[in-house]
Amino acid sequence: MKKFLTVARMHRLLYVYNGAVIFVLMAFMCLTQDRINQSMAARSFLEQAGAIPTPAPEIFLTTVATFLSLVFVGSFYRKNKNPRVRYLLLAAEIIICMLLMRSLNLSYDGIVLLVVADLMFRYEGRRQEYTLLIAMICLYFIANYNLAIFQTKTISFEAYASYYNVDAKAVILAIRNSFDSINTVFFVFYLVLLVKSKHEETERIRLLNEKLEEANQRLRAYAIEVEQMAETRERNRLAREIHDTLGHALTGIAAGLDACIMTLEVAPEVTKQQLNKIRDAAKKGITDVRRSVKKLRPDDLERLPFQEALLEMTKNYSESSGMEITFDIFSWSKNLRQDQEDIIYRVLQESITNAKRHGHATKVKITIGGDEKYLLIVIADNGRGCDDVKQGFGLKHMRERLELLHGTVHYWSDEGFIVEAMIPLNREVDNDKNSDS
């Protein structure tokens, strides 16, 4: 449904009304001046007026010209987006308003409200209170003190009205006053509409925000649900995997061993053969388990050489988070084991994530060094750091993982947060060789 009384329409009505009033007053003054001359009352009029009136054609021209420019400047002011230009336009509007009042001998100050209406139309809060206040004070002075510079040379409306007889004068003054009053009523009504429309707008924005919040919440819940689903699926997959590989192998081994127990004494040769078969089955089971575990590794690690995988991971993260990540690699052990790679990868991942999430860092520097015996990784960020580090899930996990490799982790706050991880290499290689063979 379209509303009949919109702010824009009321604004236009204000302009039209003021234009009409200005025209009427101007015509009144011009005609009175004419009549004064025709009725030979000029000398006494001058005496009463205390100033020389502007000739009628000049009043007409200046009034029409200033009012039209007020309309133009006002509409530009209401449309312009550049704040500086707008202040200029507002200043121009105030000056034009003064000139217009001057050309009407200050007999009508309703025009001031017109300027205030324009001003209010563009009022947006945000530090504009002062501008608004100053402008309003200026306008108030224009309206009420009629500007000392003009005062000596203007003729009061009463002087014009006094030309007519007492009854007519009373009527004329009453009409003039009612012009003012009606203008005030229109203005107040305009303000009410304006405030109402602004209020409606904020209400609309509030409703939209509420909707957005609701949608966000739903999204969050959905994300959790999806995560849980993924976890369940993963768990199922693991279960299936264990069932298919380990279960299969172990079941076979158990059955084979049962048979061996039966045949051990009767036919040791057969049993030997059988045990060989069982060993093959166990080996195959181990291979299967390895394959399954391999499937749980990060994609990059699977796909790329380790160093490139690290670079790829950090590059992706810095692209998505806007954080600057630099590498400083002094030395690099060529023959890292897969589990070592995995853990280094996870430590780096976790530290970077923490730097962003908790430290709000913008820069992270990763230094990797060491010799054949150990590998040292330092991850330093420029974030907030924290004085009292609570070991969360992430850090705890990191420590546990490193402990698997007999490594250690230290972390502290300096100009940011620093994580230092140390992984011994040699012993593990021995262990690895022993277990692998």
């Binding site: 001046q33 004064i36 001359n37 030979m40 000029a42 000398r43 009029f45 001058l46 005496e47 007026a49 205390g50 100033a51 020389i52 009136p53 502007t54 000739p55 009628a56 054609p57 000049e58 000596t152 040379k153």
Partner: protein
């Protein structure tokens, strides 16, 4: 965009053509003057002097035309001028009636001439009599220049004095001489028991006050000084003068038929009625002359200098030309000489009044030497005071006149009356 540029170019062209057109129009200066004399005396050839001035001015400034509306009577002039101002059609320079000077000076209708006066090397205010030049000033600013003046002198019936065996008084005569002569000549000549020959007609209390050095109002017209002791002296003198007539009221007719010895007269009247043919028409039955006004006990032979002012409209578009024309009328020696020669007024330039030409003009009296010389006139003009011209002057004086006449006529005792009057007039002026 192209349309906008086109429109802007069109607008600029129109304005340009308009400006060019304006410039090529011959400049027209409008002059506001009234017909006849400012001094209420008959004058033939009303516009003769101004026509000559315009002719020379137009010759000196090619492309400039000076126009005026002729036939405006003096009594209509004030209203006419106001109407021109209301219509925005006022003359560039115009005669400012004394009563209107304040109105136009305060409303900003008159151009402030201070800058013209100080910037123009060919102009000097020293040539003017101070009372004449200052008459065109308002609150320390000059708004008009004097054009011509007139001053009040004492008209003396020489025939009557000779008959009574009294010499014509000298120019430095005093109230004492004045009273003495009046006492001597006031009598019943035909023996019918009614006094029919008088000393003086129409010597007003204002003239007495000025002669006794009384300053009645502050210049801004906000307060009055009626309670001055010199004012009291003046009134006592007037009461004595009044008492001589024994209560008989003198009429102008008494003077016209030669039965009064003295009557204050303006110089314009002197100039009008002294030469042929007015002499024959108005006062043919006696010989007469003019002398300065009598001096009061604590004043001098001072009288009022009335001056006709010329002002410039503050809205004129040809300031410099208007100033030139003003100078042509008010400052130019030739014009001022013309005023002396061809009108009844006195020029406002001192050098013109004491010039050789003036000597010639004033010597109508061939039979015996005139009582007054150009030097006397010049002295009188130098000593003269200017009339007040603040807004409420007329009404204040009207009120004071009534009260003072009551005192002179003995209706109200003098004792404290002036204090009371001052208080009342001040109250009125404050309002």
């Amino acid at each position: 965009m192209r349309k906008k540029i086109f429109a802007a170019i069109c607008a600029a062209l129109i304005i340009f053509v308009g400006v060019i057109y304006q410039y090529r129009q011959p400049v027209t200066l409008k002059l506001g003057i009234f017909a006849g004399s400012n001094w209420d005396v008959p004058q033939g050839e009303t516009y003769a002097i101004i026509d000559d001035v315009i002719k020379t001015f137009e010759a000196e400034n090619p492309g400039v035309k000076v126009t005026y509306v002729s036939g405006i009577k003096k009594e209509d002039y004030s209203e006419w001028l106001a109407e021109q101002f209301v219509a925005g059609d006022e003359p560039d320079i115009f005669c400012v009636p004394a009563d209107d000077f304040n109105l136009y000076a305060t409303t900003g209708a008159l151009m402030n001439l201070d800058d013209f006066i100080s910037d123009d090397e060919n102009f000097s205010v020293d040539v003017y009599y101070p009372a004449a030049f200052n008459f065109g000033r308002h609150e320390e600013n000059s708004f008009a220049l004097p054009c011509e003046s007139t001053i009040t002198f004492m008209f003396v019936n020489k025939t009557l004095l000779a008959k009574e065996g009294v010499d014509v008084p000298q120019n430095d005569w005093t109230w004492k001489d004045f009273l003495e002569i009046c006492r001597k000549v006031t009598r019943d000549t035909d023996g019918d028991g009614i006094i029919d020959q008088f000393g003086c007609y129409d010597y007003s209390w204002k003239q007495a006050a000025i002669a006794n050095g009384v300053k009645l109002f502050r210049d801004d017209g906000r307060t009055s000084y009626f309670a001055d002791s010199r004012m009291e002296d003046a009134l006592k003198f007037l009461m004595e003068l009044h008492a001589i007539n024994g209560g008989r009221e003198i009429s102008p007719k008494d003077f016209d038929v030669g039965r009064v010895a003295f009557r204050p007269f303006t110089f314009a009247e002197y100039r009008t009625y002294k030469p042929y043919p007015w002499r024959i028409k108005k006062y043919s039955s006696f010989e007469w002359d003019c002398i300065k006004m009598p001096a009061g006990t604590s004043g001098g032979n001072i009288s009022v200098l009335d001056t006709l002012l010329i002002g410039m409209s503050s809205r004129t578009r040809h300031k410099d030309l208007a100033w030139q024309l003003m100078k042509k009328i008010c400052f130019d020696v030739t014009t001022q000489q013309e005023i002396l020669k061809r009108s009844q007024a006195l020029p406002v330039r001192r050098d013109v009044i004491i010039s050789a030409e003036a000597q010639e003009i004033f010597s109508w009296e061939t039979r015996d030497t005139a009582a007054i010389t150009p030097a006397d006139i010049s002295d009188a003009m130098d000593e003269a005071v200017m009339p007040y011209k603040f807004k409420n002057y007329d009404s204040a004086m009207r009120y004071a006149n009534g009260e003072i006449n009551k005192i002179i006529n003995g209706i109200v005792p003098l004792n404290n009356a002036l204090n009371k009057l001052q208080k009342e007039v001040n109250a009125f002026l404050q309002y």
